[in-house]
């Protein structure tokens, strides 16, 4: 999996948001705030979008006025699934160890 650096967490949030359907930048920020409580700022959002687009995990759709929607690609969905499975495994192990502690 390509290294997204400090954009790996925003990248995951963006992929999760776009998994629900194509969105433009502002709609993504609002959606991410709703489901995760994280307020992404525009610099971070577009830094992550640029990297995700370069990885081929998302793609830009034709502009609507000045706003450009993005959608997740098949490759992006696979990457999101892998990432979530890893996280699920971490959560499961952590919970079981927490119960034993």
């Amino acid at each position: 999996m390509p290294n997204l650096g400090r954009y790996s967490d925003p990248g995951l949030l963006i992929l999760s948001s776009l998994a629900g359907g194509p969105k433009h930048g502002y709609a993504m920020m609002e959606d991410i705030l709703d489901f995760s409580g994280t307020r992404l700022e525009p610099g971070t959002l577009y830094g992550a979008l640029a990297r995700l687009e370069r990885c081929g995990w998302i793609e830009a759709l034709p502009s609507e006025e000045r706003r450009r929607p993005y959608r997740v690609t098949g490759e992006g969905l696979r990457a999101l699934r892998e990432q979530l499975q890893t996280m699920r495994q971490i959560v499961s192990v952590a919970f079981s160890r927490l119960a034993e502690a």
């Binding site: 930048g25 525009p42 610099g43 577009y46 502009s63």
Partner: protein, 291 residues
Amino acid sequence: MKWILELYPLAWRQRYQEEMLALLEQHQVTWRTVVDLLWGAVEARFDPHFKAANGSDLTVRALRVRRAQGTILVAFPLLVLCHLLVLDGLDDVFDPWNRGHASLCRFKAVAGAITAVGFAALFMSGLWLALMLAKRAVQEHGRRLVLPLGALILAMALYGVHARVPAGISRVFPLFIAASPLPLAFAVSRCQIQPRFLRYALAPAALAVLGMAAQVMFVAVWGFAIWGISPEAVQRMAEEANRPILPGGLWHVQLSCGLLWMALMTGSAAWRFGQALMGFRQDRTSEPAAS
């Protein structure tokens, strides 16, 4: 908020600026947004992807080269202006003291020679660029530019003889020199430029940077040496010359900073020339292979 987006690389702005501006119109901008955008701009500047995009995109490269030309055209008359208005006068104050210190005199002679080469190179590159670019600009913008171009050439000619005319009149020349190339620089910044056009500008621009850097170093070292070795002598000399020494010192510092800034700008321009030139050569070498 558009000013912050100007800090991003051009390739980045071409791709994302419009949609980001649209987003920012809806977004509540706080100090966190500003910091986030500034940090994003720094990261984008260091992102190899956007660097590579900048280097390979002919439009981006041409824009950078045009800006560099504008910088040279504006920096040259400003440098002459600073030199005539400030440095000439200050030399008079310290000359008696310089003559009494042989080592400083030798240092001044060496630094002066380097600076003279730099100034000559700067003058030549300024003149060369001005003439070549003016020709191009006149071709594209018509005869409107004949007047500023004539004023520029006249101003340079007058600068050559300024020592032989009364001081009162010669003081007007720098303003004339500073003002006349500006319309030309503006026009040049808007005309179409081919990279091959700039191949002769690289060496003079690099020499000019060396000259300007030498000038700044000389002023700094010279100033520190005089103040460090004998501040009382400087004070006494200023009293004898009946000129306030503190404003003179401040002028020196300001001028040094100004010169250094111009040297950096010119250096950056020379670097861009180099990049454009290399890019052009690569294009030339890859063309036959591609065909």
